[in-house]
Amino acid sequence: MPTAITSKMRVPVPDDTAGREPLLDLLLASAAAAYCPKRTARVRALLAAGGTDWDRWTALARREGLAPLVSMSLADTAPDLVPTQVREELRREWFASSTQCLALAAELIRALADLRHTGIAAVALKGPALSAQLYGSCTLRQYDDLDLLVSRRHWARAIQVFFSAGYRPVEHLGRSPGHELRLHNPDTGAILDLHRLLMPPWCGSPCAIEDLEGRTEEVLVCETPVETLEPSELLVFLCVHAAKHSWMGLKWLVDIDALLCRPQGLDWDYALREAIRRHCRRRLLVSLVLVREIFGAPVPDRVSQAAAADAAVMALADEVRHRLPAAFHSVERIRLQMSVQDRWRDRLRVLQELFAVAGSVTEADRQSLPLPAPIYSLHSLTRPFRLLWRYGPQLARQMTLRSFPLLRPRP
């Protein structure tokens, strides 16, 4: 039996906020105070220092998908230090966003009931379930679609269930992803991604719902129990997911920090073992180093030591941390995705996926050069030139200035 190592085991983390942009610092501290009351003092200290450009700050909160969380956090922790107008604006945003969340939560509850009625087990990923699990309400995190994981065995039947409920596949021109199907309900406007694998195949070894036996838990979404990933499984999932998005979007890191701050201990042995088994150890460690250094998240010593022993992990974490919250451009993102893979085989899989997508006509081709339906096929001729025009200069710059130093194999 693996020993559950609690999140109380931690290494001292220096205050690494020196030099970080004050607006970003305030945003991250405000978000963290929503789920970790110990961090309230820092928010109040930052606010008391004054000089906050509230327009820029709210724009940043909005862009990073953190407006609902910081709205609640500031109302609770420092209402006297935030201008009334800003608090009201944030509250309006929270309410507007929460209406969308409630609509999606209602759709999730209905979808799960439909599946249950036909004997299909499903696990809710991200969206309302994650928000409820980490922040205590499905309205405190922004999302615009639903994700459900069902068994590969029940895949076809689940699609039938959703077709009966009025869902239709979202039309697209490119190659269809094999691990998920995007559905749209024209009546409610809801978008639902039906997964048969936890992550895309290029994100490591496949993990299906059958592999999650005993690794799910119930959370209350709008007072209704919903099955979702339990914390240790969720940790691996969130870290890999954040890496999949090249850590663009602070909300992914906030989610990981919120998970680590939960009072219940995590089964770190399980998380580390699964990360190795699924070949996503590097992504797990980079994400954990990031939340430890950005938020002071409670990461166990031996995890920090494992990360410190891997030069590539530390270099990647350093690169990402110094870029936040700015986004990586497209070619950098590809390089990053290559670098975070544990094995060369997985890097080749990323390339294979990119080439497969690059070789398929997409909506972007249709939009850049609208052609009549009978001659759609000509897009396959214009596509290479469009991609070269769009990404060629970035690629050339990357190859000239840097020679992919982060592609070192893991020691």
Partner: protein
């Protein structure tokens, strides 16, 4: 009058003392403040207005009177959150106006904020994100 809260075709979420209610029938979301939330939760179809006022006073530890409860019921009825017949709903609506809310309860205004939920736009592409989310 013994009001009954609606519980069909709605989704309810409690957030920091407030109650968010999503009405699946008309795609509207309502945010009930703490006092109206307490009134709505006490509407079990068996408790009178006096009983509800007493319950809410105890729960919130505020000097809320029956006039406030009646105003809250009028707003709840207007929002379609009570299981009342047309006659009763009409009576509730015309019974009192906000002007009659006591001074003690006035600090709790607005009672209910309502917003229509826009349909999210369908994603332009059904393709899964590429590695790194690079738009190709």
């Amino acid at each position: 009058m013994k009001p009954l809260a609606r519980n069909e075709q709605i989704t309810v979420e409690q957030v920091r003392g407030e109650t968010l209610v999503y009405d699946l029938r008309n795609r509207k979301a309502h945010c009930l403040n703490a006092a109206v939330s307490a009134v709505w939760r006490a509407c079990d179809g068996q408790t009178s207005i006096q009983g509800i006022a007493e319950h809410v006073r105890r729960e919130l530890d505020r000097p809320l009177d029956e006039a406030f409860v009646e105003t809250a019921l009028a707003e709840l009825s207007r929002a379609g959150l009570l299981e009342t017949g047309p006659e009763e709903a009409g009576r509730v609506r015309s019974h009192l106006t906000r002007r009659q809310v006591s001074a003690g309860a006035a600090i709790l205004l607005p009672l209910i904020a309502t917003i229509a939920v826009p349909k999210p736009a369908a994603a332009a592409s059904g393709a899964a994100p590429n590695p790194g989310g690079v738009p190709l």
